[in-house]
Symmetry: C2
Subunit: 307 residues, 2 copies
Amino acid sequence: MDKLIEKIIEKQNPTVAGLDPKLEYVPGFIKAECFTKYGRTLEGAAAALFEFNKALIDVLYDIVPAVKPQAAYYEMYGWQGVKALAYTINYAKSKGMYVMTDGKRGDIGATMEAYTAAHIGTTDVDGETCVAFGADALTVNGYLGTDCIKPLLSVCKDKDKDIFVLAKTSNPSSGELQDKKIGDKTVYETMGEMCEGWGADTIGKHGYSAVGAVVGATYPQMLGELREKLPHTFFLVPGYGAQGGGAEDAKYAFDKNGLGAIVNSSRGIMCAWKKQDGKTEADFAEAARAEALRMREDLLGVIGEIR
Amino acid sequence: MDKLIEKIIEKQNPTVAGLDPKLEYVPGFIKAECFTKYGRTLEGAAAALFEFNKALIDVLYDIVPAVKPQAAYYEMYGWQGVKALAYTINYAKSKGMYVMTDGKRGDIGATMEAYTAAHIGTTDVDGETCVAFGADALTVNGYLGTDCIKPLLSVCKDKDKDIFVLAKTSNPSSGELQDKKIGDKTVYETMGEMCEGWGADTIGKHGYSAVGAVVGATYPQMLGELREKLPHTFFLVPGYGAQGGGAEDAKYAFDKNGLGAIVNSSRGIMCAWKKQDGKTEADFAEAARAEALRMREDLLGVIGEIR
């Protein structure tokens, strides 16, 4: 996790910009240009997503350490959308950003090797080493147990990559399974402890392993509880902003050095112009930067200097 | 689930051919042709996967009701691989097959809407309705609870599509979480009961809902247990063949009419020539067909006529 942590310290910013570009979030003038070129097609939509993402990355890369493209919003535009995902990852990396692909993948061992190659590893094509998507991290669903985590761990170790395993998700119905008790522990605590175990061999110089956990800002009490119990597990914290969580909720995710977590904002940044006085969609990039700066101040206000 | 069930009855075959085309499974002469054309690149690999899949579909579509491409094996070849997935789904559908995309997706509500559009629904591009991948069914991970299932249900109802939710997976470590007790029930039973609940409004004329469950043939006792407890939940049963399960294990998944389940074989069919005397990779298609016929006999031998 050191690569991410160092970018967070350097930028004094524990936020990740979610790139979940629903077509309706993309300003009309970008869409118009792409539809003129490619028609109202999956190809046209995918081109618009990529243009939108590039413009956002251009105004964020010097102040925000990481981006998190959500795979679903690319897959819904077909393979053309998935091509835009690949291009987005490349572009963000070329600007020095840390890229987490939010795919929540989870499968049996042999299949998980394929997902590992796809998202954070490399793919062998008859002796040639190719990079399929090449992100720095992938979100993972651990429902299948250790088998589904193991293939990821060797790439995490060898290539300085990370994973974030779902523990307590930010959505309203997350408790249906995750809050149920297994003996004296909840399912999300059990999953959290598994993360500590899976990461044990990969602890970096800041004390965090390559196996992080997803814990929603919408459940601040559980965030605090898990922060105590999982000292080596870095948290990816969704739910800030549009989903209802604030800095006062997210603060429980951090340790005394202001480390231990990165907080995601997607719509809050992508659609910032809608909430800023006098802005129109032509100002989306400037407004996104202003919101990212405001969010940084908001978080630093409760956690202090990050060191 | 009626569309699938009718194809199973028509073909008297409760099997689905898994299309998990690792490049190493693809016969050398197919790869050579594609590499000559596109180089040892992701594009070349993706072309080889699609040619392999087409040849398999050509010899299976009149005897096997369904195919199940595993998304991971396409994603590992980048967006080019994902394009081969889209082409494979289209080709299988053009031959009248039922297509299940094995993606094990699961996310919060808004994101799950995007996955729904991507895999079994349609995508609106500024007023134009586009089909991204257009499978008949998607495998789903229910760790996030009802939120992550709801967006799928309306498409299942409106467009006669299905989902299969992970309950008890076929891998060795599946028990780490899934076998743990929540009160007097295991996690996999709890998930199974949620499937019955989610599917309640979508029960078709054969008594099964649009919400199926994934239950591995490698755990026959649990298969039988769940078959009893979940009368309206159709099972997708992995683990036959290469993973160690046989017809004697899989039989517990079926009801008295020989319905209630579809059994997957991936490597067993794709790489059948390796296990048949005197066959070489040039015979892969013929060998795949022979294995599919053998598997049908094997399963019908324990469940009898399907009606």
